[in-house]
Symmetry: C2
Subunit: 338 residues, 2 copies
Amino acid sequence: MSQTNRRIVLALRPEGPPKPANFRLEEAPMPEVPNDHVLLEAIYLSLDPYMRGRMSDAKSYADPIAIGDVMVGATVSRIKQSRNRDWKEGDIVVAYSGWQTHAISDGSDLRRIDPHAAPISTGLGVLGMTGFSAYAGLRNIGRPKPGETVVVAAASGAVGSVVGQLARIDGARAIGIAGGAEKCAFVKNELGFDAAIDHRDPNFARQLAEACPDGIDVYFENVGGAVWDGVMPLLNNFARVPLCGMISHYNDEALGPPSSDRLPSSMKVIQQKSITVRGFMNVEFIEQQPTFLDEAAGWIADGRLKYREDIVDGLEHAPTAFIGLLEGRNFGKLIVRV
Amino acid sequence: MSQTNRRIVLALRPEGPPKPANFRLEEAPMPEVPNDHVLLEAIYLSLDPYMRGRMSDAKSYADPIAIGDVMVGATVSRIKQSRNRDWKEGDIVVAYSGWQTHAISDGSDLRRIDPHAAPISTGLGVLGMTGFSAYAGLRNIGRPKPGETVVVAAASGAVGSVVGQLARIDGARAIGIAGGAEKCAFVKNELGFDAAIDHRDPNFARQLAEACPDGIDVYFENVGGAVWDGVMPLLNNFARVPLCGMISHYNDEALGPPSSDRLPSSMKVIQQKSITVRGFMNVEFIEQQPTFLDEAAGWIADGRLKYREDIVDGLEHAPTAFIGLLEGRNFGKLIVRV
């Protein structure tokens, strides 16, 4: 047993894309366990785009990480020591314990997972917050009807991959957008989407239109950027656009360089076609999580819900893995084996 | 009785703002009245921003007006001759008979109005489609709760003036945005909004922020343009944005001149604050129109719902009045006395 807590703190707020110098690996004394608390030992750490927002001090739904504080994030952890009657040593939990090897919890933020039901790393992905984000946005906002066309950005990613498979489970057509031939092949052949379109292809817009002969009823947005320009003209009357994330813009510091202003044309389309654009966070729908976990476990068991994880070894590699995530370099849910 | 039908047709599709040359006044023979039909004589013609969209041949929810066809639009008309048992000579109706003195109808598109209940011109405004647009968007999408803050663009206009007064009837605070001191005074003093802000003032954004100390819960958008930049930073979590129109952009032919792209920052705010942006047309909610007409007649009678009409005399002046509408030169619901 290591006698120190290794942790990665925010060293400096990034301007634009984070660089290794924005992070610092530290060693701290192993924390004491107060009465009614537990000591967590992290096994897996989830890396997610939202963390970029927390590194900036812009006003948001959540407070920014202070300089010198541990980077936030969800982990799958083992209870290493318990002074809380509800938890015992060896329990496997999802915790929000951040980028560090050890942490203290009073138990109120822990979710127990069954290590025999599925690989425990899925508690951070398909059976965790990314899977649930897909479910919450699609079921509450997208609401595809059988036969409708659902287009999913970042379709090979942690959220997008679940969105498209859920759409098919609901009887809709699923069209995935991904970057590069390898990811597109995975989306179509492994995940079973009806089609996958490479957004790097110069003919992206035409190919998307061909894959959506009846237009687009639901566009699940978790990327932002130029993909929207291909999607917008295809949106049907009463289309729904769940806005789950805007990863391509998380590094923007302010308005971009002079270019065309795409806001007026977008607003006109939204207005003229009675489209709903709805930002959301999965916590709004958290009461649906138990139902989701039950259903999703069944779909995984019967092969209708597949997932892919991109696992990086060693806490010290979390910063470079995270930087790559913002550039789309991961392939599947990005997880650090601590 | 005139033996000819005077009418204004689309002479040429506009590029950018319409000019007088886009319209042509014609005289045509008085139409014959087929069996089961009625002959309408227009008294008032409604001029509305949506007509600009119909002059272009861009794909939309409605077909464009063909070159040489009569400009579309709602009228209050008198039934001049009836060969339909459901309608009799002298009945006053709202019809969709366009920019002309006379038209034929089979009766299916007519709505009878009571000439004793209110001035019949209100059938085109506060008791017509503009009033109902305000009601439909606010009650179905905006849904203000008592104490919430509702901001209304074009607050002195046909739709905006009703939105703010309805918000107050529902117990919310109403903040109006209008162009110039005269319109602002009308919004605050005559219509009873809690505050009115002049969007031409160089300190517009600061004044809006001061008028909304608790942020904005509902922004009723029917203008587009720079007002959004002042509104966006003030939107609260779970804010609702009914998109009723984008009058400031109806003359845009394509993407504007190089400037900053405001789409990414808008999408980020919508996503991070769980905001709903929903385009709509009042026809989606048409089954609520009878309820609206009943309620609104009561509010007008008890003084809680005021309205202002801007009446122009003579069908031949409809084109210049319409051009002025798109530039915000009207003050109140714009109507032509045919």
